[in-house]
């Protein structure tokens, strides 16, 4: 198994104000799988994503990626792990405001010895004409495409997407989903996407539904619908 999640527990706060966000999760994800984590606000999906991404730690349990246990890693090793294996996409893009589109993507490219070709990627993302613009000169969709570019340029093993369409309108959202789908197909990255948009589950290989910090459903999607055909 590519990614194994075992008995993950996480709580925030102490005493009376302690909230158990994850209450012991088990999950397996295969290499190249497109996995969607669904659930309402507060169900723990983003927390789980952050723990997989190594930017937050679990209280209990373990995460193993290709045999390597995350909780055994030092801060330095974690940094290296993110560098080698992970790409991150957020709802709010988190682009570096004083770098151009191209430079933001190059910040990702720097981390890999053999990154994808930036020019080719800019074309794929439909950003070639905008490569010299700063993030504040772009629309939301263009910014998110840049963020995707930054995440995938180093061709990561796992692409973690936290509500990547949360701040976008219907059409732009579909565009972005299509792009993520293309990336998955073309480069074979494992994709874990957190969303509360139920319709997106139809384009995934695996659907995991969370509620109150527990996995309520976990199944493989036998009939996938292309992103372009999704409706909500």
């Amino acid at each position: 198994m590519f990614l194994e999640i075992r008995g993950i527990k996480k709580s925030f706060g102490t005493g009376d104000s302690c909230v158990n966000v994850l209450k012991g999760l088990d999950l397996n994800i295969e290499k190249g799988e497109f996995c969607v984590l669904l659930g309402p606000s507060g169900s723990g999906k983003s927390t789980l994503l952050n723990i997989i991404g190594g930017i937050d730690g679990a209280d209990e349990g373990s995460i193993t990626i290709e045999g390597e246990r995350l909780e055994d890693m030092t801060e330095k090793k974690l940094s290296l792990y993110r560098r080698k294996h992970l790409g991150y996409i957020f709802q709010m893009y988190n682009l570096i405001p004083n770098l151009t589109v191209r430079e933001n993507i190059e910040v990702g490219a720097y981390l890999r010895e053999q990154p994808l070709d930036v020019d080719e990627l800019l074309h794929t993302l439909g950003l070639y004409e905008h490569q010299r613009k700063l993030p504040n000169q772009l629309s939301g969709g263009q910014q998110q495409r840049t963020a995707i570019g930054r995440a995938i340029v180093k061709n990561p093993d796992i692409l973690l997407c936290d509500e990547p369409t949360g701040a976008l309108d219907y059409h732009t959202s579909k565009e972005i989903l299509k792009l993520i789908e293309t990336v998955n197909q073309r480069y074979g990255n494992t994709i874990i996407m957190v969303t509360h948009n139920d319709a997106i589950k139809d384009m995934a290989d695996r659907v995991v539904k969370l509620r109150d910090g527990m996995i309520r459903k976990n199944y493989r999607n036998e009939v996938k619908i292309p992103a372009i055909d999704l409706e909500w």
Partner: protein, 770 residues
């Protein structure tokens, strides 16, 4: 109802405690120092001003060859003045210094006893406090002059010697090798009476009200006196450096300190301004919402300005308390370290309080309200949309992709923070200027000393004193006196070479009028190697001070007359020891109608021992020429360490605050790069290295600017504060030192910043803000 926003203030203070503490400390220290200085300065100026009346300081002095007869005294006193004997005898002490002995003065120029008691018995002496300090003398110690020994019973300040000028023409006072002392009348009479100087002090019956009247009265008095007695010297109070130098210096220091305070305050105000701009950017959404809900711009300006103003106010109050208690003594000590001032009483100084409390608050208010008004002028909607640029969307500066991503990244950080770096530049300029000054002065003095040693006209210049009878007596008397003089001043010394001399004064302008020695040199002189011919050369010091070049004309005047002389300058003679003019002996004697055979002294490379001592007026040797550098070193040497320390403090604080802001501003990006897998080292290379690059560039750019500014400041300082001239010489090593101090300071700050970068959490990027 009070604005609920005020509840944020203590929380903001708590969350940014480090920043506010640093600014507070810097403010409090600067204000403490300036307030302490102003209080000490004000109190001492008052003590100094009061001393004129309290100690009945003379309105002038004159010296005669012989003691005044009763008739002569009465005749002079007819010009509405009262004359007091103030005779003195100068003797060398065994410690190598010269002391001017006085009897105790009871009516005029009275003595302030600082410690111990006045001499009562034979063998007792009270010496000047400053001189004693510089020569490590204390009450109970013995001083020896020839075979006579005196026990020090008291330390005093003579009211007419607040600055210890041995001669009124000296470039600088000398409290190391020259002192004044009081002995009993009996002991005074037992001293070598051959050296007795008939010095008289005068006090006007009715004091002149204005400076102009004072000058006029002095001129009239001199005219009256010359009809009665032959004057050897005539110095009205306003020309007496021993009395006036201290007052002038204290006044100019004050202006400098106030300027220093205001510059520091303005820099801190801009640092606050940048911090506020950063906060506004961070809180744009909140500001937009508040404005949309009805909060006025004024309310928000007041809110954001409150903390800087409160911090300034508290800093000013704490600074003033420290100033009045601790720093006052330190600052007064600085004056006591240079001048022989009488005791002082601390006087509450309303102006100092105003300047160190109200004005800094006003500076802070003005600069910050200006920045806030500018930043908050946008519509609420723009704030809500976080669109804080008033112009159309800024285009990114194009950077070639040939540059690596790290280089481009750093350049972008630099472009993003231009306003921070501009304030940083002002801070660097100012700190560097202080540092420059602190490092420069000792090296200038050393160089001056070396230069003087290297280009002395001769090892010894003996200036002879022509007996007054030769100049003013009857023809026969005059002739006889001259004959005696020429016999008594002939020498067998083989290195001796005659020269004639005359003193004129410069025309007062930017610099005070000062005496210029005009040398008349033998043809083919062994000492002055210049093709004088019929022309005139000026010393390098003259040329540098008055910006004279060959071909220019210079005009000098008789000291006590209106007569002026104009000379065309043919060349510049490499001599930095004094402001002087060289011409052939013939020309000088002819110009001033001194007679063909007239000479005023000898250049010599060995000591001349066969001249009658009574004809030797002054000997100019290395010790005499280096008096200035010696005294400046004593007066200002210690202060330079303080100046350097202060400069480094400004460096550290400004660099620390501004680079902290840059990191805070980019916290989200830093967090994001961490998530992407960048190491702390790599992130530091991006953010810290950008600031380091800027610091290096700014340090380098600042150097030529500092040099130009220092040229102006040094010139102005030398012009206004002293006669004579010290050439500005900048040791290239100083530039390296300045650069290194700046750079090392930055490295220290960078280590703190590295810690800060390490602490930026990764969840910063997860916050739902852009």
């Amino acid at each position: 109802m009070k604005s609920p926003l005020r509840k944020r203030l203590p929380r903001e203070l708590k969350s940014e405690f480090g920043k506010y503490l640093v600014v507070f400390i810097m403010m409090a220290i600067t204000i403490a120092f300036v307030s302490g200085f102003l209080v000490a300065d004000g109190s001492m100026i008052r003590a100094y001003d009061d001393s004129f009346q309290k100690y009945n300081i003379e309105d002038g002095y004159f010296r005669t060859k012989k003691k005044l007869t009763t008739t002569q005294k009465e005749d002079i006193e007819k010009s509405d003045v009262k004359i007091y004997e103030n005779f003195y005898i100068e003797q060398k002490l065994t410690n190598g210094s010269t002391v001017r002995f006085f009897k105790n003065r009871k009516d005029v120029d009275k003595v302030c006893l600082m410690k111990g008691r006045m001499p009562e018995k034979s063998g007792e002496i009270a010496v000047d406090r400053m001189y004693a300090e510089n020569n490590s003398l204390e009450i109970g110690d013995w001083v020896k002059s020839g075979k006579r020994a005196f026990r020090i019973t008291g330390l005093v300040a003579l009211s007419d010697y607040s600055a210890l000028f041995q001669n009124n023409n000296d470039t600088m006072f000398d409290s190391v090798k020259f002192g004044v002392a009081i002995v009993t009348d009996k002991d005074f009479e037992a001293l070598n009476q051959v050296k007795l100087q008939y010095n008289y002090a005068w006090v006007y019956d009715k004091k002149p009200e204005t400076e102009k009247k004072e000058k006029k009265m002095a001129e009239d008095l001199m005219e009256d006196m010359t009809g009665v007695v032959t004057l050897e010297s005539f110095v009205p109070q306003f020309q007496n450096q021993s009395i006036c130098f201290t007052g002038d210096d204290m006044g100019s220091d004050r202006a400098m300190m106030v300027m220093l305070l205001y510059i520091v305050m303005a820099i801190l105000a801009f640092v606050f301004g940048i911090t506020i701009s950063n906060t506004i950017r961070k809180e744009a959404g909140v500001i937009g919402t508040l404005r949309a809900s009805g909060y006025t711009r004024r309310e928000l300006i007041i809110h954001y300005m409150s903390l800087p103003v409160v911090i300034t106010l508290i800093g000013a109050l704490v600074g003033n308390i420290l100033g009045y208690t601790l720093l006052k003594q330190v600052c007064a000590g600085m004056y006591y370290g240079s001048y022989s001032l009488p005791t002082y009483v601390t006087i509450w100084n309303a102006e100092a309080f105003w300047m160190t409390t109200v004005v800094p608050v006003i500076i802070m208010l003005t600069i910050n309200s200006g920045i806030l008004y500018y930043k908050l002028r946008l519509s609420p909607l723009k704030f809500i949309r976080r669109d804080l640029s008033s112009r159309k969307q800024k285009r990114a500066v194009h950077l070639s992709t040939k540059l690596g991503i790290f280089r481009r990244f750093r350049l972008r950080v630099i472009f993003q923070n231009i306003s921070n770096y501009m304030v940083l530049f002002v801070g660097i300029l100012f700190a560097n200027l202080l540092l420059f000054f602190g490092l420069l002065l000792p090296s200038v003095l050393d160089h001056y000393q070396e230069e003087i040693q290297g280009n002395m006209l001769a090892k010894y210049q003996y200036i002879l004193e022509v007996p007054t009878e030769a100049m003013s007596g009857s023809k026969l008397e005059s002739l006889l006196a001259l004959m005696q003089y020429s016999n008594g001043t002939e020498t067998e010394n083989k290195t001796a070479e005659k020269f004639s001399a005359y003193t004129l004064n410069t025309i007062p302008g930017q610099a005070k009028s000062e005496e210029v020695m005009l040398y008349g040199v033998e043809p083919d002189s062994r000492y002055i190697k210049a093709d004088l011919g019929k022309g005139v050369y000026v010393s390098a010091a003259y040329a540098d001070k008055y910006q004279v070049e060959p071909g220019d004309k210079i005009t000098l005047k008789e000291k006590y007359e209106r007569k002026r002389y104009t000379f065309k300058v043919d060349g510049i003679y490499n001599y930095s020891g004094a402001v002087s003019v060289f011409m052939s002996r013939d020309k000088l004697n002819r110009t001033f109608d001194l007679g063909n055979d007239y000479y005023a002294g000898y250049f010599s490379n060995t000591k001349i021992r066969d001249i009658d001592e009574k004809y030797i007026g002054t000997v100019i040797d290395l010790e005499a020429l280096t008096k200035v550098s010696r005294q400046l070193d004593v007066s200002m040497g210690n202060m330079m360490g303080l100046v350097n320390g202060f400069a480094v403090m400004i460096y550290m604080i400004v660099i620390y605050l501004l680079s902290k802001i840059i990191i805070e501003k980019n916290a989200q990006s830093i967090s994001m790069t961490k998530i992407l897998g960048y190491t702390n080292g790599e992130i530091s290379r991006l953010y810290i290295m950008s600031t380091m690059l800027v610091v290096i560039i700014e340090l380098l750019i600042s150097l030529p600017i500092e040099k130009a500014v220092m040229n102006v400041i040094f010139r102005a300082m030398m012009m206004s504060s002293m006669t004579g001239w010290i050439t500005l010489w900048i040791d290239p090593k100083i530039y390296v030192e300045m650069f290194l101090v700046g750079f090392i300071t930055y490295v220290a700050v960078a280590l703190l910043e590295y810690r800060k970068i390490k602490k930026v959490p990764m969840d910063e990027a997860l916050k739902n803000v852009e």
